[in-house]
């Protein structure tokens, strides 16, 4: 599946959603909708958050699953938090 672009290829500004469509009845909705903060993260960071939630929010479990040390995984989470706070 194609990756959802979040940055404008011309000016690097964060993209907005301007059209939504129903795959069933082909209804189309136009407007200007901001992308949710989580969707503006990189795919790797989104996958990290998904794995974090699925592991019940346990960084120790995450560290074991990813084969990384606890502080490394905590740093990854801290970097994501920093990115989200900056949005």
């Amino acid at each position: 599946m194609a990756q959802l672009p979040v940055k404008c290829p011309s000016c690097q500004h964060t993209l907005e959603v301007s059209e939504l469509s129903c795959g069933n009845c082909e209804t189309k909705i136009s407007g200007i909708y901001g992308l949710p903060a989580l969707m503006q993260l990189s795919v790797e960071d989104q996958e990290f958050i998904l794995a974090f939630v699925l592991s019940g929010g346990s960084l120790k479990k995450m560290a074991t699953q990813l084969g990384k040390s606890y502080p490394t995984v905590r740093n990854m989470l801290d970097d994501i938090i920093e990115q989200l706070n900056a949005k």
Partner: protein
């Protein structure tokens, strides 16, 4: 191999690092005893004529305590989430390759050489003549010492960086200050206790 040599703190659990660090420190202290090496300071190693079994181990415990204490304080300033176990592991693991410098004193060669040179330099400076073999040995020792010291500091910084999520200039400055303070304090403690 790259993971073990340069990124151990990114990939290995704290339990594994602690076990390797403690066992390695004990083994290195025994090696220090056998090869008459005193680690009398966080950044120091000296070869002596006589040594007691407990001295290299006590030296290393004091050094690890000093470096852990000051790096931990620096780490807490950088990031309040810094854990003591991660800093302790960095201190233990970073020193392991550095202990290999003891090997320079196999058969007491470096201790004899430094004693001869110091004796000549202080009592008969005019008679100070060093043969080419000794110069080569000193150069090789100095080069190996420098390499191991750089690697020691590299590993220590990487451990500190992972433990604190350090970014920017401030953590580097605090790290340098912490190492200098640890060196001073460890030398003082070893001088008065050991």
């Amino acid at each position: 191999m790259k993971k073990i040599l340069f990124q151990a703190f990114n990939f290995y659990s704290e339990k594994r690092l602690l076990t390797i660090g403690l066992l390695g420190t004990i083994a290195a202290s025994l090696l220090g005893f056998v090869l008459h090496a005193r680690f009398d300071g966080v950044l120091d190693v000296h070869f002596v004529k006589s040594i007691k079994l407990y001295e290299p181990l006590l030296d290393n415990l004091i050094n690890i305590f000093s470096i852990t204490l000051f790096i931990f304080i620096a780490g807490k300033i950088v990031n309040s989430k810094t854990r003591l176990i991660d800093i302790l592991n960095a201190s233990l693991i970073a020193r392991l390759p550095y202990y290999l410098i003891s090997l320079a004193n196999i058969n007491g060669y470096m201790a004899d050489l430094s004693e001869r040179m110091l004796g000549l330099a202080t009592q008969q400076p005019e008679a100070l003549q060093i043969n080419p073999l000794d110069i080569t040995a000193i150069l090789i020792f100095a080069f190996a010492f420098l390499l191991l010291l750089i690697y020691y500091m590299y590993l220590l910084y990487k451990g500190y960086q992972v433990a604190t999520n350090a970014k920017g200039a401030l953590p580097i400055g605090l790290f340098v200050i912490a190492v200098i303070l640890a060196e001073v304090i460890s030398k003082l403690i070893i001088y008065f206790i050991a």
